[in-house]
Amino acid sequence: MRLAWFLALRFMWDQRFQSLLIVSGVGVGVAVMVFITALITGLQASLIDRTLGSQPHVIVTPLEREGRPLIPAQPGEVRLRHVERPMQQSRSIDEWQKAERAISLLPEVETSVPLAMGPGTALRGNSEEGVLVIGADPGRLDGVIPIRKNMTAGRYEVTGTDVVLGSELAKNLGVGVGDRLRLRTALSDGQVYVIRGVVDMGAREMNRTWVLMSFRAAQTLTNQPGRASAIYVRVHDIYAAESVARSIGGLTGLTSRSWIENNAQLMTALSSQSASTTMIRFFVLVSVAIGIASVLVVSVIQRSKEIGILRAMGAARGVVLRVFLIQGGMIGAAGALVGSLIGFGLTRVFRASITNADGTPFFPFAVTPQLFVLALVVATVAGLVAGVVPARRAALLDPAEAIRNG
């Protein structure tokens, strides 16, 4: 093995211009892979982050009642019938404490919170706005959906008649912290509430409709005393949310939907984006490998006399094989180092030069040490694989033939 390393290094140094060229070529390829991976991973992470910034990972709601035919068909009988979906009267989870305890015992679950919710109307002077009343313990809801860090005014601490409004709703009603407004629902005449804060959730729909208050106050306002309309769940691994949602459904008998199911379109877009990045990376990798292979094939042809001499002197086939495999692997590894540097530099340049209006970077690159380790491993393996054909060719040379004809 030492001999193979010695020869591989000397051969590469001997053709340093050629080595430099191919290492640069591999470097450019690796730079593209590093850059595109950092960009897409970062973009996707920030998209998911933004999506999950206002949504829980899993939403548990009462079981939806299915329509059932009133008269069953007899065997051998065909009935024409119209089945209507029943009214979803039971909007609440009666035994939410039991369900929540079961949910919190799942190891994948980080935290959860019961909510009382319902549609309502906000009145202030002559203006009237349709709102969504959301009642939950502020601390616990903040643990599931980040709210406190999105406050634009006041604080998210609500008890009794305190409420926090979505920013757009506050604007439309012309109110701010300390102001009062009346809230009512179809089931309750409601009362006057004091505004303790304004929140900007980053999504228009929420900013226009959200009214946050305490769990108990919402139970009263939406007329579901002692009950909850939903349980929001935060899980440790967001990509496992789907299976967690299924086990919650099985455990509690309630309807349980993950953010993945609720954002099917986003997920489809993300996965097709991932697929196209994978394609790009794959083909860049293939062209890198072909580049390495072609340089090594030429090198084997140029050195066939020397290979013949080595074999005549008693160098085993395995030594010759390794000499060229090592060269392939080293070109890949060196290219990965060069490419990682270029790729890292590119992300820096983009981050610094293209920014949002507020000065934050426009491209959310995900530059991690793992990315560079992965680039190194992938490029080295590609180099080794690329070296297989030339190395085998070199190892199988007939020494007598090679010495005579080159």
Binding site: R2, L3, F6, L7, R10, F11, W13, D14, Q15, K305, E306, G308, I309, L310, R311, A312, M313, G314, A315, A316, R317, V319, D398, P399, A400, I403, R404
Partner: protein, 237 residues
């Protein structure tokens, strides 16, 4: 057999070699018997295409005979696999070719050290012994030079040093002086002869040069794939 087996470096019995080419079989060697002892220096001569190089490749274990038996250092080689042949080459045979065939990427000392490194000797030790071997061929001061910086005669002397550094029992030289002027040619051959005398290395030289053949301990003349009847090489059977 009268001789000690250890004295016998090489023994060929009824060696034939045929090549297949586009369905026709051409036999190049038609049954060669030959023996070489320690300290003998044999010139192989013959017209072009008579099979000299083929014979040398067989003896060098770079090709296998079509039939017959070949003993190298007492070991019969026809049943050995590729790895075993490679190992025999590494331990017992040194090569010098018409064109020096040094490895351009390595210094002279590294070229000479290669056969030892192939045997597993550490680089440091191999380079030390290479320096001694280079001094023996009069090139002690060129250890760090690249082959391309040397003259043709010097390059061939480096090749001789490389062939002899591992103290092989048998040295095979395929027209080692064929590419050199008479002065260099003489110097290289004298080197081979001296090492043959001093170390007792068995040497086989394929040559076209009658002046070189005359100075060997015997001549094996190959004509049309057979040992010529007038050959001065006597089989000591």
């Amino acid at each position: 057999m009268a001789d000690e087996p250890s004295e016998l470096v090489l023994r060929l019995r009824g060696i034939t070699k045929a090549f297949e080419n586009e369905g026709t079989t051409t036999e190049v060697l038609h049954g060669i018997d030959f023996e070489l002892r320690k300290g003998e220096l044999c010139a192989v001569i013959g017209p072009s295409g008579s099979g000299k190089s083929t014979l040398l490749n067989l003896i060098g274990l770079l090709a296998r005979p079509s039939s017959g038996s070949l003993w190298m250092a007492g070991e019969e080689t026809s049943e050995l696999d590729e790895d075993a042949l490679t190992s025999l080459r590494s331990r017992f045979i040194g090569f010098v070719f018409q064109f020096h065939h040094l490895i351009g990427a390595l210094s002279c000392a590294e070229n000479v050290a290669l056969p030892l490194m192939i045997r597993g000797v550490s680089r440091g030790q191999a380079l030390e012994r290479a320096a001694v071997a280079l001094a023996e061929v009069g090139l002690g001061d060129r250890a760090r030079s690249r082959p391309a910086q040397l003259s043709g005669g010097q390059q061939q002397r480096v090749a001789v040093a490389r062939a002899l550094v591992g103290d092989p029992a048998l040295l095979l030289a395929d027209e080692p002086t064929g590419n050199l002027d008479s002065e260099n040619s003489n110097a290289v051959f004298e080197l081979l002869r001296r090492l043959n005398r001093e170390r007792g290395t068995g040497v086989i030289v394929v040559t076209h040069d009658p002046r070189i053949a005359e100075r060997c301990s015997g001549t094996l003349e190959i004509v049309d794939g057979l040992v010529h009847s007038d050959s001065r090489w006597k089989l000591q059977v």
